[in-house]
């Protein structure tokens, strides 16, 4: 991708990433840390970003892609304004989190792992956030809601519009 077509905002993002990679000494074994940083900057890891990282680390893009696709934390899809994560850890599961997930899925009209067409909500599942005492648990943009019920799904969505 030609750098000259970039908007100043995008350019600033790449600059920030470049600085971070340099601070890690352009070392291959820092790849996961770099990907975390890149996802923090861009919100996701599109192909261009992966190519950029591969070039800076002097490794094949396939290596970067292999790592991105291996770990569930990394995503190549742009996420919505509100990321809803329903915990499917065992403690939440035995207390009915699957029903809550289905309710979100129905209300939003999307399957887990997808974003609504208006770009507002992304529905994800997560394996245990460690708040098992409050099971079932859901998170919206990092804020945790404990003891969730099918009925509370609508109320939670009301909060985020």
């Amino acid at each position: 991708m030609g750098k000259e077509q970039m908007s100043p905002e995008t350019q600033a993002k790449y600059d920030e990433l470049e600085q971070f990679i340099a601070s890690k000494g352009n070392k291959e074994h820092e790849l996961i840390a770099i990907l975390h940083k890149a996802q923090g900057i861009f919100g996701y890891l599109p192909e261009d970003v992966q190519r950029f990282i591969a070039k800076r680390l002097n490794v094949p893009v396939s290596k970067v892609f292999g790592v991105v696709s291996f770990y569930s934390f990394f995503t190549m899809k742009k996420t919505g304004k509100y990321v809803i994560r329903v915990c499917l850890g065992t403690a939440c599961f035995v207390r009915g989190s699957e029903k809550i997930l289905n309710e979100f899925s129905e209300k939003l009209g999307i399957q887990p792992g997808n974003t609504t067409a208006d770009g507002l909500y992304t529905l994800e599942t997560v394996r245990c956030v460690g708040a098992c005492g409050l099971a079932p648990v859901i998170q919206v943009n990092g804020k945790t809601y404990g003891n969730a019920t099918v009925q509370s799904v609508g109320q939670i969505l009301e909060e985020y519009k």
Binding site: V67, T90, C132
Partner: protein, 634 residues
């Protein structure tokens, strides 16, 4: 804070002496200075989710507004374990234990302290046995049978205070290893203690360290596995959040003994608070000369770096973890070579999990006997369990090895939620098995758990009641393994997928008796042939439920019935004619016109009782959801 670098054993002793009173007020002794009370608020993730930060801020505001800063001190602490009742607030020196404190309670609690009144009754824990409120933590049944070694500082110290950590014997163990014991003596102490790895299989810790120290090499690594991927287990997170210094001290002791110079903590990205606490603790230790060059003036140099995981369960396996730290895909490798021989960057590496390192300082500060006097013959010390699921007191519990399931579930856990019947407990996460109610009096230790088809794992303990379908639970774990299999070896990648498909067939009511045999033989093959620990243990949830709950599988297959009524495809909705008022709402809502009225009159003689045609029913549950008198159920 004035910078106090500790440059020798003598300076360390002086530091200990200087701060020996840091915990006095928490031990019931009047504190130093003017303060008369200390309000200690749990700030671990569990209580955070129940808004403990807001509670803290409200206390802070009210204390400042009323100019009580000098009299009433406010502090954070680590996990009390009683997460279900969070946020927990403890008052010292009275030792009052308040539960479920809300921000609006803060002024009342402060006023009450200032007046010197009796504790607020409505904020105390009420013993369900006699309906009497309990003031002190130790008197609550949840804590009575617990023995806290790994969690010795959690809920006691401020996790960001080195002074308080040291006041509870912190770094005494490291000082002993640095200045008193030779490396042979230290290994001997560890051997005598009987400590076994707390992350899974229970390999003797001393043996691991002994191998790593005998492998030659001028560059060695100490790695802490904090990739707590087992869903439903959160003890490592609580330890890191509540007692980060202890984990670091355990790693430094390991480094001294195996002569490592670099340490890595590999932690889940899902644990931001634990990372924050560890980073702070590392910074504080470096400032005090307890990490970095020339630790405590002993000449030993060792530093620790934090590396993030990125959401892959298999990275809990040590060779996969190492591959991930090196920046690659977390795929396991064949052992040998073991990490102790060729680990991180091909250097000798010792990998232990958080709870294991956390036990080490206790052993070297108090002696092997203080540890090995607890537990069973082959499993010494205590184990932390994350008790969750259908149980009244969800939370972290630490009990001596050899405690029975009955004691954990009924005495500590307060029994099953809503008075339901106890059915099974799942230990060891996706690698463990389901233990039926008939083993309730089995003493829990590494070897007993393996002999009944499960394993200790990292200590997740999920309690299930009569409403949980064991086939569905097995399917749940398998779906987890299928998701998390790294794909490197065929038995795990393909075998588990096939197991999952068979389970899906059974829960959809399409299974046959042959499928059960197929599950067993395929499961056994995967166990025997998979590459790593994850693959080898992945069929355990299926095999153990097949062994102990076979009749439930058979009901799914032959009668097409789910006894726990959890499998939707096998559900049978029916209308209770005694309750039905004949309103016809269900029939109108039914998307497939499966509901019709009978000629039997309802209470209102103009209306008629309704009935569901099971052949037409698609089990969507819409009717049950809309019935105004709840006459429709499974």
């Amino acid at each position: 804070m004035a910078l106090e670098k500790i440059n020798s054993y003598e300076e360390f002793l002086a530091y200990c002496k200087e701060h020996s009173h840091s915990l006095d007020i928490k031990k019931g002794v009047k504190g130093i200075g003017e303060e008369t009370h200390l309000i200690s608020i749990c700030s671990s993730s569990g209580c955070h989710a129940s808004l403990s930060q807001e509670v803290y801020d409200e206390f802070d505001k009210y204390i400042k507004e009323n100019k009580l800063e000098k009299k009433i001190k406010l502090s954070i602490t680590g996990c009390f374990g009683f997460c279900e009742k969070g946020p927990i607030v403890k008052i010292f020196p009275e030792d009052t234990f308040y539960i479920q404190v809300k921000p609006e309670d803060a002024p009342r609690i402060v006023d009450n302290l200032v007046k010197g009144d009796k504790p607020l009754l409505d904020k105390l824990y009420v013993n369900p046995a006699d309906n009497k409120p309990i003031v002190k933590q130790d008197d609550i049944p949840f804590y009575k049978k617990q023995k806290r070694i790994a969690l010795r500082d959690c809920g006691l110290i401020n996790p960001e205070s080195l002074e308080e950590y040291v006041a509870n014997k912190g770094f005494a163990g490291l000082a002993n290893v640095l200045f008193k014991y030779s490396s042979d003596e230290a290994i001997e102490i560890l051997k005598n203690s009987g400590l076994r790895g707390r992350g899974g299989a229970g390999f003797p810790t001393w043996k691991k360290w002994d191998i790593a120290r005998k492998v030659p090499g001028d560059e060695k690594y100490v790695v802490c596995n904090a990739d707590e991927g087992d869903p439903g287990a959160f003890m490592d997170r609580s330890i890191m959040e509540g007692d980060p210094f202890s984990v670091l001290e355990g790693m430094i002791i390991a480094a001294k003994i195996i002569q490592a110079n670099k340490g890595v903590i590999y932690i889940r990205a899902e644990y931001p608070l634990a990372v924050e606490r560890l980073e702070k603790a590392i910074y504080i230790l470096r400032e005090h000369g307890l990490l970095g060059d020339n630790i405590m003036g002993s000449g030993m140099s060792f530093d620790i770096e934090i590396k993030y995981g990125a959401g892959a369960f298999v990275c809990g396996e040590e060779t996969a973890l190492i591959a991930s730290v090196e920046g690659g895909r977390g795929e396991p490798t064949v052992k040998p070579p073991f990490p102790a021989q060729s680990g991180l960057f091909k250097k000798p590496t010792n990998v232990n999990n958080v709870e294991t390192y956390d036990n080490v300082p206790f052993i070297f500060a108090n002696g092997a006997e203080a540890f090995n006097c607890i537990g069973t013959e082959k499993s010494k010390g205590t184990k932390v369990f994350a008790l969750a699921g259908k149980i009244n007191n969800v939370g972290l519990v630490e009990v001596p090895m050899g405690t029975t399931l009955r004691e954990i579930i009924y005495d500590i856990g307060g029994g099953i939620k809503n008075g339901k019947a106890f059915k099974a407990v799942q230990t060891g996460g996706p690698s463990g098995g389901c233990i039926p109610a008939s083993f309730i009096d089995t003493p829990i230790d590494y070897d007993n758990l393996v002999s009944i088809g499960s394993m200790m794992g990292s200590g997740g303990m999920i309690v299930m009641d009569e409403d949980n379908c064991m086939v569905n639970i097995a399917k749940f774990y398998l779906s987890f393994t299928v998701d998390e299999s790294c794909g490197k070896c065929t038995p795990c990648r393909v075998g588990n997928k096939r197991l999952y498909e068979i389970l899906e067939k059974i829960t959809n009511g399409e299974g046959t008796l042959e499928d059960l045999d197929q599950l067993e033989s395929l499961g056994t093959i995967i166990k025997d042939t998979a590459l790593c620990g994850l693959g080898q243990s992945s069929p355990n949830p299926v095999l153990s439920t097949l062994k102990y709950f076979r009749e439930e599988y058979i009901a799914h297959v032959t009668e097409k019935l789910c006894p726990a009524k959890e499998c939707k495809a096998l559900a049978r909705y029916s209308i209770d004619p005694k309750i039905c008022i004949g309103c016809d709402i269900c029939a109108k809502k039914c998307p497939v016109e499966a509901i019709s009225k009978t000629d039997q009159q309802a209470k209102n003689p103009k209306l008629f009782i309704h009935v569901i045609d099971d052949h037409k029913c698609i089990r969507c549950g819409t009717c049950a959801m809309h019935c105004p008198v709840k006459a429709i159920s499974l």
